[in-house]
């Protein structure tokens, strides 16, 4: 099997910038640096290179500081040139959950990313502001560089993918020159990582925004803050936070209220048992197949049992994606299997229902309009059509976003405090027109979550408004008959009535939903 995640080979080199005294603050029975080193040991990190001052500066003046920063940057550039694998750059004064570090360092993509927090907290000198759009860091700040419309803060941890190592080396060297020439103002040794992030973003290298979620990861400057931060780690239920990080908004109301609350609890035991996400997808498909077999039986008891199996198959479908994110073993083929198996199971159930429908004049009596096979094929075509509407609409949005993202690919100068791309991306101007029913099986932008409605969002009134419109949107999606509602409709109508009633219900409800979706999207596109 190609999909055993197993123990992965250590494939990331770590550079820890322990040049500030804060890294030597004591915590427990060691320093912060020792603690961090221990944490990195638990991650797939190849080797840890600690950048530290051999001589502790006595009354360090500005010139010392400048020389130190430039030297640190050159160290990073050297590591980038020497390295053949992705490099993680971390500050030594970091107090973080191991899980938070893993979310960026153990990401299977091993691409360029920065750990950010989008909880609306205010930036401070150790946690500079950044702006995140479409899952990417598009603007980053430092003591010199300003960010317009910041919506997140940088949490210190950076990872640079193998493909971007050359870019990192160039950026770090260029920054070192600027720092030595004094073009970036009074820089401090604690912001080397921040400067590198600014450099990466402004040179047009795409940096994925890795969101912290409920976990903690902060930099500290003194002993009191360190102690408080270490205690703060224990306040968070790390297991629950890890599980929550694997959640995605459910499509529709039934999935959110009746399935997800218990389906998500299956994830940790499944991970402990060593089940892969692809295996869960396979079990889900097998359940759907069994449901189809029982539906083809046709009896009342069989219909009830088949409905239960169908709901179980759907619940497992809600588990597999979570499990993949939870175990950080997601892959393109896993996503493909999930999407294709989901629909394959559904179409098998339709066939099973049609086979099990009692026909008076033999099995072939279905050619007249309204015959069970005509209905079954109409339901199937309707489902393909609805998915195509969603996918094509999402594709058009992605196309537009790509045009917008191209603006951020243009290199921008490092020596000016504010440097905005030439124009705002089209996708943002168009607004979030999710509308009804958008691609519930595979919505790529789900990572953004519902909290992206506004930039400032701190006041209670604003928050309230967002929550209410969220509920309204969710009910609109439920009306658009997403997978959860569809599964329930099939199970209930088939158990109470027969396959004919199920197909008619799917056609009427699904057809109305498709029409409503198309009309609202056309209206939104034209305004």
């Amino acid at each position: 099997m190609p999909d055993s995640p197993g123990p992965r080979a250590p494939r990331v080199a770590a550079v820890v910038l322990a040049t500030t005294p804060a890294a030597r603050l004591s915590c427990g029975d060691g320093t912060l640096l020792d603690r961090l080193n221990g944490q990195l040991g638990a991650l797939p990190v190849r080797d840890v290179q600690v950048v530290a001052r051999t001589t502790v500066a006595i009354g360090s003046g500005v010139t010392d500081s400048v020389r130190d920063v430039a030297e640190d940057l050159r160290c990073v550039a050297k590591a980038a040139r020497a390295g053949a694998t992705a490099i993680a750059v971390l500050p030594g004064d970091l107090v973080a959950h191991t899980e938070a570090l893993a979310s960026i360092i153990d990401h299977p993509g091993r691409g360029t990313a920065a750990l950010v927090a989008r909880g609306g907290e205010a930036p401070d000198p150790l946690h500079p502001p950044v702006r995140v759009a479409e899952g990417r860091v598009v603007e980053a700040g430092s003591s010199f560089h300003r960010v317009v419309n910041a919506n997140a803060v940088f949490r210190g941890v950076l990872q640079i993918g193998e493909a971007d190592l050359g870019g990192l080396a160039r950026v770090a060297d260029e920054l070192a020159e600027h720092v030595e020439a004094g073009r970036l103002g009074a820089v401090t040794p604690s912001e080397v990582g921040d400067l590198i992030l600014v450099g990466l973003v402004r040179s047009g290298i795409p940096v994925r925004a890795c969101e912290l979620g409920g976990l903690r990861c902060e930099r500290v400057s003194d002993a009191a803050a360190a102690e408080e931060a270490v205690q703060g780690l224990a306040e968070v239920d790390e297991a629950e936070a890890k599980l929550a990080a694997a959640d995605r908004p459910a499509p529709g109301v039934l999935a959110a209220l009746l399935i997800d609350p218990w389906a998500r609890l299956l994830v940790p035991p499944a991970a402990r048992l060593g089940l892969t996400a692809d295996a869960v997808t396979g079990i889900s498909l097998a359940m759907a197949f069994l449901a189809a077999v029982w539906y083809s039986e046709g009896g009342r008891g069989a219909m009830l049992l088949a409905g239960a199996l169908l709901i179980l198959a759907f619940a497992l479908d809600r588990v597999d994606g979570r499990l993949a994110r939870y175990t950080r073993s997601f892959s393109p083929i896993g996503g493909w299997l999930d999407a294709v198996c989901g629909r394959a199971g559904e179409f098998m159930v339709y066939v099973g229902l049609a086979v099990g429908y009692p026909t008076a004049d033999g099995p072939s009596a279905g050619f007249w309009p309204g015959g069970i096979w005509t209905l079954m094929i109409a339901v199937m075509i309707l489902q393909v059509l609805r998915d195509t509407i969603d996918d094509a609409h999402a594709g058009a949005r992605a196309d537009a976003a790509r045009v917008g993202a191209a603006h951020y690919r243009v290199p921008r100068p490092l020596t000016v405090p504010v440097s905005e791309p030439p124009a705002e991306p089209v996708a943002e101007a168009r607004g979030e027109t999710e509308g009804a029913g958008g691609g519930e099986s595979s919505a790529d932008r789900s990572a953004e979550g519902p909290s992206r409605t506004d930039g400032e969002g701190g006041s209670g009134v604003e928050q309230h408004r967002i929550t209410r419109s969220d509920t309204a949107r969710r009910f609109a999606r439920a009306l658009s008959l997403p997978t959860g509602e569809r599964v329930a409709l099939i199970a209930v109508t088939a158990a109470l009535f027969d396959a004919r009633a199920t197909f008619l219900a799917l056609l009427v409800w699904g057809g109305a939903a498709a029409a409503a979706t198309v009309v609202t999207r056309i209206a939104k596109a034209l305004t």
Binding site: F330, I333, G334, I389, A525
Partner: protein, 202 residues
């Protein structure tokens, strides 16, 4: 090296060589949506008057759609409503296949098998684009596209061989799409995730 498509929506059209050829003839001067709409309208009218059951006229429907919707294929699909084109083409193709199949009393499992092959390819196509495991250009050629498949079926109707054509086409498409897709996905890098992190969804 498989070329990376510059935009998603045109790939979702699933054009065959005929449609792409017509698009090249007009050199992208025709916007995609109006002709696709007209084509879908005409074919629906033809199907309503019972063309699917006839031996001779059935061939008209795909030809008309092709003449109308094909030339739009090479235009940029960046209009505000151009995302409607792929659903329109899907509806046209699937309804045509189903109507011809029913009208000629093709065994239901064969119709379902053929529609299933088409659906598999179309779901696969979306995932391919989204997860950057791009389909090779020859797949659209050998898969015939919506245009080619409709034409093959219409010609089958003309020759009075609807059921054999359905069977052959279904087997051929399942073999082609299934084999190509499976080998391509198995060869895809396990960690080939892009910077936007579109790794997995539910």
């Amino acid at each position: 090296m498989i070329p990376v498509p510059s935009a998603f929506v045109p790939v979702y059209r699933d054009d065959g060589p005929l449609s792409r050829g017509m698009g090249m003839v007009v050199a992208g001067q025709l916007p995609p949506l109006p002709p696709a709409l007209a084509g879908a309208f005409v074919i629906n009218v033809l199907l309503l008057v019972g063309v699917a059951g006839t031996e001779s006229l059935a061939v008209l429907a795909p030809v008309v759609t092709l003449l109308l919707a094909g030339p739009g294929s090479s235009h940029l699909h960046d209009g505000r409503l151009d995302w409607l084109v792929p659903p329109i083409l899907r509806l046209t193709e699937y309804v045509f296949v189903a109507c011809v199949g029913f009208a000629h009393e093709v065994p239901v499992p064969v119709i379902v098998l053929l529609l299933g092959a088409m659906a598999f390819h179309h779901y696969d196509l979306v995932q391919r684009i989204r997860r950057r495991v791009y389909p090779p250009p020859w797949l659209a050629t050998f898969g015939f596209g919506w245009d080619g498949r409709m034409l093959v079926i219409a010609l089958g109707g003309l020759a009075g061989l609807v059921t054999p054509v359905f069977v052959l086409l279904a087997l051929y498409l399942w073999g082609l799409f299934g084999w190509e897709s499976l080998t391509c996905w198995l060869a895809a890098p396990r960690s080939g995730l892009d910077a936007t992190g579109s790794g997995i969804d539910d």
